[in-house]
Amino acid sequence: MVISYRDALKVVGIIIVCCCAVFVCTLFLNYNLDLCGIEGELTTPAAVAMYYAQIDMGRVTVGVTGGCLVATSAIMLVAYIKNYIDSHGRELGILKAIGHSRISVAKHFVVFGLGTLVGCIIGYVASYIYLPAFYRTQNADGLFPDMPVTFHPELFIVLTLAPAAVFSAIAVLYAFMRLKTPVLDLMREKREYAVKMRQGKGQKRTFLKEVAVATLKGKKSHIFFVAFSAFCFSAMVQMAISMTEIASQTFSWMIGGIGLILAFTTIFMALSGVVRGNSKTIAMMHAFGYSDGECRRAVLGAYRPISYIGFVVGSVYQYALLKLIMTFVFAGVDNIPDYNFSWSALLITFAAFVLTYELIMYVYSLKLKSLSLKSLMLE
């Protein structure tokens, strides 16, 4: 069979995102479950107000961050399977041609879903190790009685086994749908070429602009991942900087760290896909005499505006989320500082983002440089 268990580890990006999602969800859900157990022991109004604020904050964080990450993992998984079927069409077509049924081929895609199990377990274990420190941070003011970390088996099942089962089912079902393509089309690796591009009458784009437009419109998942990576970078890093003023430093490091991991994972996944998907075009452009700069601008440059849009949306999102939490969730809690939009955090994050983004683009431009027609001929 063309898919082996080792392929499960190739979905590194999805494993990392799942790991982050489960890490965050385990922290807040385990804490919330244990916190609910001491509700009757709270006597002071300040403790009760803080109790409700933390319960609500846990719900919001799990709902917004966890939900967002789970949705991203699902989109990444579907995009990965689509790319896998596109690039292994010949082998899959041969399997169908010699008599394997669609479901018998599709069920092997379960390994990609199982890859998420690895990420979920790593996330759960890492979170469990961090939980005692998290409990201390959450109760820094000493409003609650001492609360030991309790293992909740139902949480383990919901955050590790259940997502892996759901993702495996998504993988098999999506592969089953994609493998509906006729055998010959699979073997010829026939793709949906006809990307209709709106163009004004008499208006003609240069070839390089055509490449840029075709690159953007060819794989919409890449647009999502580039925008999402900028969004993560912008939102989480700004949130981390702002949180040093309104929450603990540990908490801000955690948020910033997760944001950066997500940003790097998604942008590397997107750009690797962009370079892989355009390797033939780039190799041919090199052979014809297009310079490295022209290839880089046509293929990678098209994503720059998308990343800036992602950055702006991320800035607005983090401000709205923090304002919402501070205004409504911590409304009744004393000594909570007022939260305002931080222009300095925005500027620092933007400078760091531009530097990082251009550095990554430079690394990938070296990759583009190495694509020659000779390497394509040897495929």
Binding site: R191, F207, G289, Y290
Partner: protein
């Protein structure tokens, strides 16, 4: 004039090393039609890749009008290919997500050639401008590749087994286009093939075997694509 002197090329290293070219010398006059003929593994495609600046040799020189291109930096070599070289390959290498018109524009834009529409008409694809490569037959795809190469207005046209994937009728048609372009534009044309019948269309034939040139001869009366055997 293209002058090739003492070209050597080895792939791999140690015991697995394969010496593909063992000291090749040849000269190609401007405007001539040269065929490099040889069996599979004789080194003809590697020689073509080296002369066309797609690959660097291990030793020797490739001079265009006395200028040794093997000494060029990568960026200078790219600029050289941009203004001087056109390619046509057996596998066409068209861009699958671009229409016929856009594929040809890939070459035309490099030469600021706005008249590429005439070239598409000339290869008989005027009515297929908006078609994608997957919607064309093999012969039509190869004609797009020809139009793309010509639209670039190259000084030298390199062809690697251009009819290798085509049936006899389509193959003759494609060769006829190539011969016409060579004649009308006095384009230096260097074609690699294993088919000795096709070699009869050339002015000069260079026969290769095991990385060496074993025979070179001029063809007194080159035949047309429809006169040669297949």
């Amino acid at each position: 004039m293209i002058s090739v002197k003492g070209i050597t090329k080895t792939y791999g290293s140690g015991e697995g090393a394969v010496e593909v070219l063992k000291g090749i010398n040849l000269e190609v006059d401007d405007g001539s039609f040269v065929v490099i003929l040889g069996a599979s593994g004789s080194g003809k495609s590697t020689l073509l890749n080296i002369i066309s600046c797609l690959e660097r040799p291990d030793g020797g020189s490739v001079c265009y009008d006395g200028e040794d291109i093997t000494k060029f930096t990568d960026s200078r070599l790219t600029a050289f290919r941009r203004t001087n070289i056109g390619f046509i390959f057996q596998q066409y290498y068209l861009l699958p997500n671009m229409t016929v018109e856009k594929n040809v524009r890939m070459g035309a834009d490099l030469a600021h050639n706005d008249d590429y529409g005439k070239i598409i008409e000339a290869v008989g694809l005027g009515d297929k401008l908006e078609k994608y490569p997957a919607e064309l037959s093999g012969g039509e795809q190869q004609r797009v590749a020809i139009a793309r190469a010509i639209a670039k207005r190259p000084r030298v046209l390199f062809l690697d087994e251009p009819t290798g994937a085509l049936d006899e009728n389509t193959g003759r048609q494609v060769l006829d286009y190539i011969a016409n372009i060579h004649k009308t534009q006095s384009l230096t044309t260097i074609m690699v093939t294993h088919n000795s019948n096709i070699a009869r269309m050339a002015d000069r034939v260079i026969m290769m075997n095991s990385g060496r040139i074993v025979q070179t001869y001029n063809v007194d009366c080159p035949q047309s694509a429809y006169e040669i055997g297949w």
